[in-house]
Amino acid sequence: MTDILCGILVMLARMAVVLAVVFGLAAYMILVERKLLGRFQVRYGPNRVGLFGLLQPIADGLKMLLKEDIVADGVDRRIFLIAPAIVAGAALFSFAVVPFGPTFAVFDRPIAQVIADTDVGLLVIFGLSSLAVYGVALGGWTSDNKYSLLGGIRGAAQMISYELALGLSLVPVAMMARSLNLTDIVSAQATLPFALSQPVAFAIFVVSALAETNRIPFDLPEAENELQAGFHTEYSGMRFALFFVGEYVNMILLGSVTAIFFLGGWNGPLLPPIVWFGLKVLAVPVFLIWTRASLPRLRYDQLMALGWKCLVPLGLANILVTGALLAAGR
């Protein structure tokens, strides 16, 4: 009984820690993005609220909370209210299977630094990321607004297309790690991260993951100069904030997943594992922000051509080559 209670307590504690860290990170990731974008554009970025604008996320959050939650006429109310939650929820759920470091012991009790250590972790992340598209598509469809609808349709098509490339880029990882368990995948990179042993898969993964998060240069669902704000045109207040937080949680998730799949997880010299993991996780959002500052948005046909004519064949070929090499090496 004590065991079960302890287990539940530990589980709750882990969940609380993960949620707090992820939300805090997401909030400050917004600030980091605004500051960094500012500096990339030779300006300051937010620096009015608190020292260096450090309280800006809190001010933003307060503002969003206090704003009126407008539900426009003609929307499908239930779906309209649920859609933002799907985006944020799917991203948060994924953290259930993300390990943050090696298992350690407290009072001889092994404590895994993961909420749910499952054998199919890779598939779970993959599946949950594919659910996020419902938030975008439904939110766009239900807003009863042609721009939102176009954004939703674009989002759905884009995410389905790039999910395929994403999946194909992860197959070699699973093949080389011989497991779908994330902890196992990290252990398999103890010597050499997959980013180096699987450069093509890494490249495909980064590009398609970028597309999955709907960020520049793949932000066609919300392309401001064509669709106002795309699928979240009609959203305001906290619901809009949920879309927003979902995007940044997704960025952190993407960082975690990239770190686990390709950058060797918490493996690294000198520094403790959790610090290595944190550094690798944060490196990816910073890269995404840098990309946002550097690259222009793709045209829609270019997006589709890149996905279907370039990434998918490349991924298939990569699998074949990897399989052949593995078979040869056996």
Binding site: V42, S294, L295
Partner: protein, 187 residues
């Protein structure tokens, strides 16, 4: 239409594309280490050039009298019709504005009025930040517009050049002869 690309062409295209991407990443990266050009406005106020077009004033001539003669040229030049006035004859015989009104809520600070002003009375100042809570407060009357200095050109005095006898008699303006004696028979 698509030409069949040979191998080297495709490779070149890929390399070019990669170089282009890298170039843009490099550009943003160098920006990251540059000093931001933003001016921290309320703390730091850039000294504006004297000819900046901001709030409008009505200046005075060196002798301290109103320069404005209410000639209606500024209101005629104003493209948004934000200037209105009524001229009258003042106690000293000078033409002046009975009332003079500028609606700054309508003003576009184009400076055409300043250009039109023949007496250098109406001038635009660098002051650009004068916010109000109510839009009616942007209607400035002559009392609000009139200042006690000569603005950008403090030495000019219209009535020293004009030939009309207001303040000083005929023949005593700059570059004038004595009045003709119409009843003289001298050649």
């Amino acid at each position: 239409m698509e030409e069949k690309k040979d191998k080297t062409g495709l490779l070149r295209e890929v390399l070019d594309g990669a170089a282009g991407l890298a170039g843009s990443y490099a550009a943003t990266l160098t920006h990251l280490f540059r000093r931001p050009v933003t001016e921290q406005y309320p703390e730091y106020k850039r000294p504006m050039p004297a000819r900046t077009r901001g709030r409008i004033i009505l200046t005075r001539s060196p002798d301290g009298k109103e320069r404005c003669v209410a000639c209606y040229l500024c209101s005629g030049a104003c493209p948004v019709n934000c200037i209105s006035m009524q001229s009258e004859e003042g106690p000293d015989g000078r033409r002046r504005a009975a009332w003079f009104r500028i609606n700054f809520a309508r003003c576009i600070y184009c400076g055409l009025c300043e250009e039109a002003c023949p007496t250098l009375a109406l001038q635009l100042t660098p002051e650009f930040a004068f916010c109000k809570d109510a839009i009616e407060d942007f209607v400035y009357e002559k009392e609000d517009l009139l200042v006690d200095h000569g603005g950008k050109d403090p030495d000019y005095d219209f009535y020293a050049h004009a030939g009309v006898a207001a303040g000083r008699p005929k023949g005593e303006h700059i570059g004038e002869d004595e009045p003709v004696d119409v009843k003289s028979i001298l050649p």
